[in-house]
């Protein structure tokens, strides 16, 4: 260049300081920062990330809630004593409680008193109920140490032998059903998540390729001015990684805001019938740390996927540019 430079200098080309200042502005990126296809890609990535994160959140919620239900139910057993003519209910309840409490693995045994029983029946029989005038079965709640469960078979046999009309329900049937249901729900949720992530990956690939197609002329020009394939790929990869991160972060933040919104709603409406119903089903609507880590992981995976797709697309485009563009000059 020195010779050309000298030539040009000889030809009288002189610079004005104004022109120098003007060109020292920051150069435009080789890949244009924004176009319609790029914006559409960011939007598609944001929506897909949002949906993936919601699916992940729902799976986390169901899994955690099912685990809580299971632990709660497994922590209790119930002794039921049916009333009978001539049965001293108070004595029978006390006896049943004592028998249960005598077993190791039982943390507590307490009688559901007449008032609590009346409250339990209130939704069906109304208020002001005289519980003693009705043949209502009475309950003893046995709290169990879930780590060392008592000998239920022995307790059941002793109760049947000692206390008339007493039956022991260790909730085994419920727990088994619940475990099966929770497993099914989590499996369905995980399958939905896998499908969602696959759809996201494919959408990202198509959106990236679509956005790349509009930049084919840039790749061609770079190629013709002697840019090496890794340089061209790195320009596009950087651009699309940024776009992917922007979209994925927007989707992830959107999902987190929805989680926080639900949490806020459920804590604000605590003790109202709607919230109680929701809490009974889903716990306290809180997505645990694993959920938030999952959201972060999805955002990163999607951004990396976008960059990787771009890299592969650029390289395959470069491979074809020499042979498939008959009008490229």
């Amino acid at each position: 260049m020195t010779e050309t430079r000298r030539l040009l200098k000889n030809l009288g080309a002189r610079l004005s300081s104004g022109a120098r200042d003007a060109v020292s502005r920051k150069q435009m990126p080789i890949v244009p920062p924004d176009n319609v296809a790029g914006r559409a890609m960011v939007l598609v990535i944001a929506i897909m990330t949002f949906l993936s994160c919601l699916t992940l959140g729902a799976v986390t919620l169901v899994r955690d809630t099912a685990a809580t239900w299971q632990t709660q139910i497994a922590r209790e057993a119930t002794i039921q004593i049916k009333p009978e003519e001539g049965l001293d209910m108070t004595a029978a309840l006390a006896q049943a409680r004592d028998i249960a409490a005598s077993y190791s693995g039982v943390l507590d045994a307490s009688i559901v008193d007449a008032q609590a029983t009346a409250r339990l029946l209130e939704p069906w029989l109304g208020t002001g109920l005289d519980i003693d005038s009705l043949p209502v079965p009475r309950l003893v709640i046995v709290t169990i140490d879930p780590l060392s469960r008592p000998d239920f078979a022995g307790m059941r046999a002793e109760l049947q032998e000692t206390v008339a009309n007493a039956t022991l329900d260790d909730h085994r049937t419920w727990v088994d059903r619940l475990v099966a249901m929770a497993r099914t729900t989590v499996t369905i949720g995980m399958s939905a998540l896998v499908l969602m992530l696959s759809a996201t990956a494919l959408t990202v690939i198509f959106a990236t390729r679509g956005a790349m197609a509009g930049n084919g002329h840039i790749i061609e020009v770079l190629h013709f001015v002697g840019a090496e394939a890794p340089f061209i790929a790195s320009q596009f990869r950087r651009h699309f990684l940024l776009a992917g991160m922007k979209g994925a972060a927007a989707g992830g933040i959107g999902a987190i805001l929805v989680f926080i919104g639900f949490y806020w709603w459920s804590s604000r409406n605590m003790a109202t019938p709607e919230a109680d119903q929701a809490t009974a089903l889903f716990g306290n609507f809180a997505i645990g740390p694993s959920g938030y880590i999952g959201v972060g992981a999805i955002v990163i995976v999607i951004a990396v996927l976008t960059a990787a797709t771009t890299h592969v697309t650029v390289l395959s485009y470069l491979k074809s540019v020499d042979s498939t563009h008959p009008d490229s000059m």
């Binding site: 030539l7 040009l8 030809l11 610079l15 022109a19 002329h217 002697g226 020499d322």
Partner: protein, 207 residues
């Protein structure tokens, strides 16, 4: 495979040579330039570029060899989102050079081709002639060993065409081999140079 465009074509482009490539439209001028630029592989025959067999040049070597070749495309191939200055500086930028090391060279060249006042303008605003000059400046910026120009004066007035031709001649004197594809007889008459005429897929050379 399409029709055979060039047949039994054999020639040598010496270092520092200057030649016109002419012939009617569709004679294969662009195809021949593409073969020289290595953006097309011959279906048969042998091409040796800078002492290397074209068929043995790998994909990795290609960009490095292309850095010795300046090309002026018929349709300019300027990037619309980059200013004239950035377009002309592009070959230097892709070589990883810092802007400070080439800024003055690019500005000088732009001023010389008459684009000093248009260096911060985007190509869509430029006239056909200005785009042509920007494309020529981009091809010249690294003083290539060979310059291939496809109708480089096709979009400019005769006065500017003469000026651009003088620039190409100066470049040739500094050691760059020049091939100008054109069917502008007026342009060819201005220089006593080798003429390569394509017709019916065959090449005649008039030294």
């Amino acid at each position: 495979m399409g029709p055979e465009i060039l047949r039994d074509v054999s020639f040598h482009l010496p270092e520092r040579s200057f030649q016109f490539l002419s012939g009617p439209s569709g004679a294969g001028k662009t195809t021949l330039l593409r073969l020289l630029f290595m953006s097309l592989k011959p279906t048969r025959g042998l091409i040796t570029i800078f002492g290397k067999d074209r068929s043995a040049i790998t994909r990795t070597e290609l960009p490095l060899l292309r850095r010795n070749i300046g090309v002026v495309f018929q349709d300019f191939r300027l990037l619309d989102h980059l200013t004239t200055y950035e377009n002309v500086a592009l070959p230097l930028r892709v070589r990883g050079r810092e802007e400070a090391t080439y800024r003055s060279d690019v500005i000088e060249l732009l001023k010389w081709v008459g684009l000093g006042e248009r260096m911060h303008v985007l190509p869509p605003i430029l006239s056909g002639g200005e785009k042509q000059r920007a494309a020529i400046a981009r091809a010249l910026i690294e003083q290539p060993r060979i310059l291939l120009a496809d109708e480089p004066t096709g979009n400019v007035d005769p006065q500017l065409a003469r000026r651009l031709l003088r620039l190409l001649i100066e470049l040739n004197r500094l050691g760059t081999a020049v091939v100008i594809a054109t069917h502008d007889l007026g342009l060819m008459d201005q220089v006593d140079a080798r003429r390569m005429v394509l017709s019916g897929g065959r090449l005649e050379i008039y030294d």
